[in-house]
Amino acid sequence: MEDTGIGLWGVPLAIFAGAIRVSTPFIFVSLGESITERSGRINLGLEGTLVFGAMAAYAIAVMSNSPWLGVLAAMATGAVFGLVHGWICKFPRVNDIAIGIAMMQFGLGLAFFLGKPFIQPVAPHLPSIPLGGWSDLPQIQSALNINVLFILGALLSMVFWWAFKNTRVGLILRVVGDSSDAARAMGLNPDTVRLLATAVGGSLAAVGGAYLTLFYPGSWNEGISSGQGLMAVALVIFARWNPIGCFLAALLFGGAGALGPALQSVGVTQGYYLFYAAPYVLTLAILVATSSPTRSLAGAPGALSITK
């Protein structure tokens, strides 16, 4: 009997590999949402944007045979969804959360409607970089087969973190997000800034969708997202609007999500429903540990409707 398993090492490896494989949609959606929320608006519709982006990327990749064109198409559709959200929210007394929920349902419905003919065809996948060549173990090689979008997401989170602090664009975003009045006094138009921030946020969220259909799991169907878009919006608050925090929180979620299947694969088979709840238990624990009754959320943009 030739044993090719790696035993208990499979658990840390699966958490590590899962963190990389599963986290990318979370990274892009939460980075996008961190920009939108930093500008003082919350877009709950990113789940719909993610699924529509997933469909658009797959459809364009099938038709053009180029996964990168698919990603670009997803970004374009995501930007349109963001623009619509931003445009509607510009009107007085419109609630951005309610519009977000409506946009989410709209995005899902439209994606299912237009995506019907693309469930069966097979699209080309996005390339990945094999960093595991040094190991003889196929498990490690597979775990280190890292997709370019993941690397891009990691770089973007650092760029955003730096840009929020050190650039003029970052300053404008933060001013608008903290106080509309202060922004107006500076001669900025908060609505325009928020419109653009929501559009950028939407196009990043759609890249997360493109990763789902064009790399992992790598096919389009109506159940492709299991709520990643919604979870990522919560991740932004969890990460205190810090892009690097978003990246780390996304890794944590990816890794914790891989725990359930990995434990079953090494024979820890009791109570898997409980292990599947691990990411959420973890979130609750960290939120409870880091919150305080005596001060408001650190880093929260002042103009955000949830903090007003």
């Binding site: 090719t4 899962g18 599963v22 096919s219 159940g223 079953q264």
Partner: protein, 376 residues
């Protein structure tokens, strides 16, 4: 008006339609019972997309078979949730399309949705895919049909047993219900008929359709050395593509997934609903009584096997064919004692043999020895 009319939109339409017909205003717009007998309209309702390479596609392929029959009109609706939505779909098929035979194909459609509709429309025949119909309890214009697909999983297991080098095979399962457990057990017993040292690792995802978790489960199985993977989830597409991408062999389920992994696909156990639906429709057209409790397996044409793939050796093919011949003759039994369960207890005692239609198998709650996994 102080109280709401006890009438919904559908029954309103129906009433006004018959009123209009009585006045001679709409003679051809709505089918009358006399017209319905000449041409049979059959309704199919699916819980997911009908091209999912899985459960729903298997039913839609069956619907496509009867669509080709003369005098039959097929109406279909997909992505119908197992809620009051399915009642609306059924009413619309009955009232607006004139369906007189309805197949709600998902498990959760039965109670209370189909039963409610059956009470409201006693002239319409309802047949549900699942297995809950009981005489005396449920209306006679309803019924259930299902296939015994366990033997198909046993045949999958035979090809897996020959193809596996690591002697470890894997199963991605949705929920630990009797049907799923029976498939897991049959898959391993088939593989063990080739080599008794083989073990099968099972991972439950907890839901019928969770693409990312199914992919993670498949990766975890391959990481642990499993080199043949099969599954019981609604759409095996993700499992098949992920496993083949990692270089493992796959056995299919529900429908034929070989186009997704032509090199790695060994075989698969598929539903052959076309035969079942043809039979129902022929009876309905002839005015005969439809069965209320319809069951069958490989030999009855309810289940079929995908063509064997290039990864199946000559030796494997021989054993596959021999076992299939025995099954077709009705002389084969997967659950033949003694079989131990994976906690050391007796699952099937020595001398005990269950035929595939044995009622005991429909309440299976154990995993057999050699399956690494737990039912809770």
């Amino acid at each position: 008006m102080t109280k709401l009319l006890p009438m919904n939109r559908r029954s309103f339409l129906q009433t006004t339609a018959s009123g209009a017909a009585a006045l001679g205003l709409a003679p051809s717009l709505f089918s009358t019972p006399a017209a319905a007998q000449a041409a049979l309209t059959v309704g199919f309702i699916y819980v997911g997309p009908k091209d999912d390479y899985g459960y729903n596609q298997a039913h839609a392929e069956g619907a496509a078979v009867i669509k080709a029959m003369s005098g039959v009109t097929v109406v279909e609706e997909e992505n119908v949730p197992e809620t009051v939505d399915v009642q609306k779909t059924m009413e619309s098929m009955i009232n607006l399309d004139g369906a007189s035979l309805v197949f709600p194909t998902s498990f959760g459609y039965f109670d209370p949705h189909m039963l409610e509709m059956a009470k409201k429309y006693p002239d319409v025949q309802f047949r549900h895919c699942g297995g809950l119909w009981k005489e005396g309890v449920n209306p006679m214009n309803t019924g259930s049909y299902f296939g015994y697909i366990g033997q198909g999983q046993y045949l999958n297991g035979i090809t897996a047993g020959y193809a596996s080098k690591s002697k470890k095979i894997g199963f991605v399962a949705a929920k630990p219900i009797p049907q799923v457990l029976q498939n897991i057990n049959s898959f391993l017993l088939g593989a063990r008929s080739v080599d008794p040292a083989i073990t099968c690792q099972v991972i439950f995802t907890g839901e019928w359709s969770l693409a990312v978790k199914e992919a993670e489960a498949t990766n975890a199985l391959v990481d642990q050395g499993a080199d043949v993977i099969t599954c019981h989830v609604d759409s095996p597409k993700v499992v098949v593509e992920t496993a083949a991408g990692r270089g493992a062999f796959v056995c299919g389920y529900h429908a034929n997934q070989s186009p997704l992994a032509p090199e790695k696909y060994l075989t698969g156990s598929e539903w052959a609903w076309g035969n079942v639906y043809t039979d129902f429709v022929k009876k309905a057209q002839a005015g005969e009584k439809l069965g209320n409790f319809v069951r069958g397996g490989l030999k009855d044409g309810f289940v079929k096997m995908s063509p064997l793939g290039p990864g199946v050796s000559e030796e494997a093919r021989k054993k596959f064919d021999a076992t299939l011949t025995e099954m077709m003759a009705g002389s084969f039994s997967v659950f033949k004692g003694p079989i131990k369960d994976n906690k050391g207890g007796d699952a099937v005692t020595a001398g005990q043999t269950f035929a595939e239609d044995a009622i005991e198998l429909e309440s299976m709650a154990y995993l057999v020895e050699g399956v690494v996994g737990s039912t809770s």
